[in-house]
């Protein structure tokens, strides 16, 4: 079975400068695959090359090297384009149209018959919670409503693969929650979702796998459940009693005091000594627990200078698959 998304040394560079002789690399050769039905998070700070990758996959810019296929088809294949949906970053739509008119337009462009189109438009508007605003011109929409109509246009033709560029960008917590639920809904339907974001908590909640991109370079790919379960090499101690604090503090990485309760994060090797100190000082131990890696830890480690694929959780492939090659 074909990969939902497959890139092989896909790269993009631009000519810059007055004489157009200098080259600026927006995306270094990128090789990755996304399985059908996977929710894939494409993480990176601003300017990392996330949008460039999406534009390459959508055929909006042309690669200077490498190849890419979606659902096993070339990027220029209209049959493939009928099976994908795309939400650009900070979308703007024809604001003289109503939500219904806009979605009808996109449905027709996607080859949906008029009768089917009307039914699907109504259904998708209800799904994104815009049924009441169906006849309102888009110029009267709030940012959150525009984002929802953006997702609606991306799924109105029931695509197999949905690409979302920063879908949570600029949304309030309620809006983010709604978009998260929509993505979760797509996942439940078995759609492949490829979304770029720098909001790590959303990626952690939704994604099966994530890739981290920095300065146009893929810094690593990982299965989210593995990443967040990974032991960080640190332990968290929780106790009552301030007497032991001064003895433990020098070897602790972090210390937080809340009333009587003290929380300290220590390297694993320091834990036996700290427990002994606690016993001697009469501290009341509440818990000792390993500190798990967060997606943020992983992300920041990938972004650090030399943050290549040396981490134990890099090169993680989808369950049951061979590991991917990462740079």
């Amino acid at each position: 079975m074909a990969f939902a998304i497959e890139t092989s040394a896909l790269e993009k560079s631009y000519s810059v400068g007055f004489w157009r002789k200098a080259r600026k690399c927006a995306l270094h050769p990128l090789t990755l695959t996304v399985e059908p039905g996977e929710v894939f998070g494409y993480l990176g700070p601003n300017g990392a090359g996330k949008t460039t990758t999406l534009k390459l996959l959508m055929g909006l810019v042309f690669p200077t090297g490498g190849t890419a296929r979606i659902l096993g088809m070339e990027l220029t294949d209209p049959r493939m384009k009928a099976q994908i949906g795309f939400l650009p970053e900070q979308p703007y739509f024809y604001d003289y149209l109503t939500a219904t008119e806009l979605l009808n337009y996109y449905a027709q462009l996607s080859g949906i018959a008029a009768r089917d189109g009307r039914r699907r438009v109504d259904a998708v508007l209800a799904r994104v919670g815009l049924a009441d605003a169906a006849r309102v011109q888009l110029r009267k929409f709030s940012k959150g409503m525009l984002q929802r109509v953006g997702i609606a246009q991306a799924i109105v033709h029931d695509p197999q693969v949905v690409f979302l560029d920063e879908p949570m960008s600029g949304l309030d917590p309620m809006g983010r929650r709604e978009v998260r639920d929509l993505i979760q809904g797509l996942k439940d339907e078995g759609k492949t979702v490829f979304f770029s974001t720098h909001i790590l908590s959303d990626a952690e909640t939704l994604c099966d796998r994530v890739a981290v991109l920095h300065q146009g370079e893929l810094r690593g790919i990982g299965v989210v459940s593995d990443l967040v379960a990974e032991f960080s090499g640190k332990m968290e101690l929780l106790w009552h009693g301030a007497a032991a604090l001064s003895a433990i503090q020098p070897c602790a990485l972090e210390v937080h005091t809340t009333g009587e309760t003290i929380r300290a994060v220590l390297p694993e090797s320091e834990v036996p000594g700290a427990l002994e100190t606690l016993r001697r000082c009469g501290g009341n131990l509440i818990s000792v627990s390993p500190v798990r890696m967060t997606l943020e830890d992983y992300f920041l480690a990938r972004l650090a200078p030399g943050g290549g694929p040396a981490s134990p959780f890099v090169s993680a492939a989808p369950a049951g698959k061979a590991p991917e090659v990462t740079p």
Binding site: F62, R79, P88, Y94, Y96, L97, F163
Partner: protein, 257 residues
């Protein structure tokens, strides 16, 4: 074909909902109305004045609409990123360009029809009826439509590779130079050497809008030959097609940053 029709209809709908268009159309109708006024105070030549002013108003304002809306056809879609969601669908780039062209051409055709109705109403009011020679007016209006097609296609061509301001300037310059194309041909014939080559090339390259301007002729009841009708139609359609093809060639290779 369905996708082109869909894009064309959306372009038409955008223009119809744009206030700028109505301002220009109302202004053009006012010009036709004022032509009526000028005609009434021009003793003996009322009809000529009305035809000259009325058809010129239709032509000038149509060209203004073609340029002002045409420059934004592609650039606005790129700037606002509306194009991204269109081209992410099974829409080929050439279909987008052709759809946009057809949409604006359709808008101009409908506008011209409205303005022509206003013009003929004014003529009927002034002359209390139509003459057999008034058929020439229809030919003049058809030539004006051909002018619009050429200017729209050129504007689309310029907007496929330059900024809206540059496109506006280029389109205006070509539209103005095009109205003096016959003079450019005459100048080319009067020169020698390299100047003649350059002038001849320029004369053939710019749109020959002067050949499409028969307003003065029909105002004086001079007939429009069937040959001229045929050649002008072929010329206008070929020129517009070539300009749209140029826009497609450029746009097919363009990175949408």
């Amino acid at each position: 074909m369905r996708r082109i029709r869909c894009i064309a209809f959306n372009t038409f709908r955008e223009a119809v909902r744009d206030r700028v268009l109505y301002n220009l159309v109302i202004f053009a109708l006012l010009m036709v109305g004022s032509a009526l006024l000028f005609g009434q105070i021009s003793i003996g030549v009322e009809r000529q004045v009305l035809i000259n002013l009325g058809l010129t108003a239709i032509s000038v304002f149509g060209i203004l609409i073609a340029i002002f809306i045409g420059v934004g056809l592609v650039s606005k879609e790129i700037d606002k990123r509306t194009l991204y969601t269109v081209l992410a669908r099974p829409v080929r780039r050439w279909e987008f360009i052709v759809g946009k062209f057809c949409g604006l051409a359709g808008t101009l055709l409908v506008n011209t029809c409205f303005m022509a109705v206003g013009f003929f109403a004014a003529l009927l009011y002034l002359a209390h009826g139509f003459h057999r020679s008034d058929r020439g007016l229809l030919a003049a209006i058809w030539f004006i439509v051909l002018e619009f097609l050429i200017v729209t296609a050129l504007t689309l061509l310029f907007s496929s590779f330059s900024t809206p301001l540059e496109s506006t300037i280029l389109a205006f310059v070509l539209a103005v130079v095009g109205t003096f194309a016959e003079d450019l041909h005459n100048y080319a014939r009067a020169t020698h050497g390299l100047t003649q080559v350059a002038a001849t090339a320029a004369a053939y390259l710019v749109p020959n809008l002067s050949a499409l301007n028969v307003i003065s002729r029909v105002a004086h009841d001079q007939p429009i030959a069937a040959g001229l009708l045929f050649y002008n139609t072929v010329y206008g359609l070929l020129y517009a097609t070539a300009a749209v093809a140029g826009a497609v060639l450029i746009f097919e290779r363009r990175n949408l940053k």
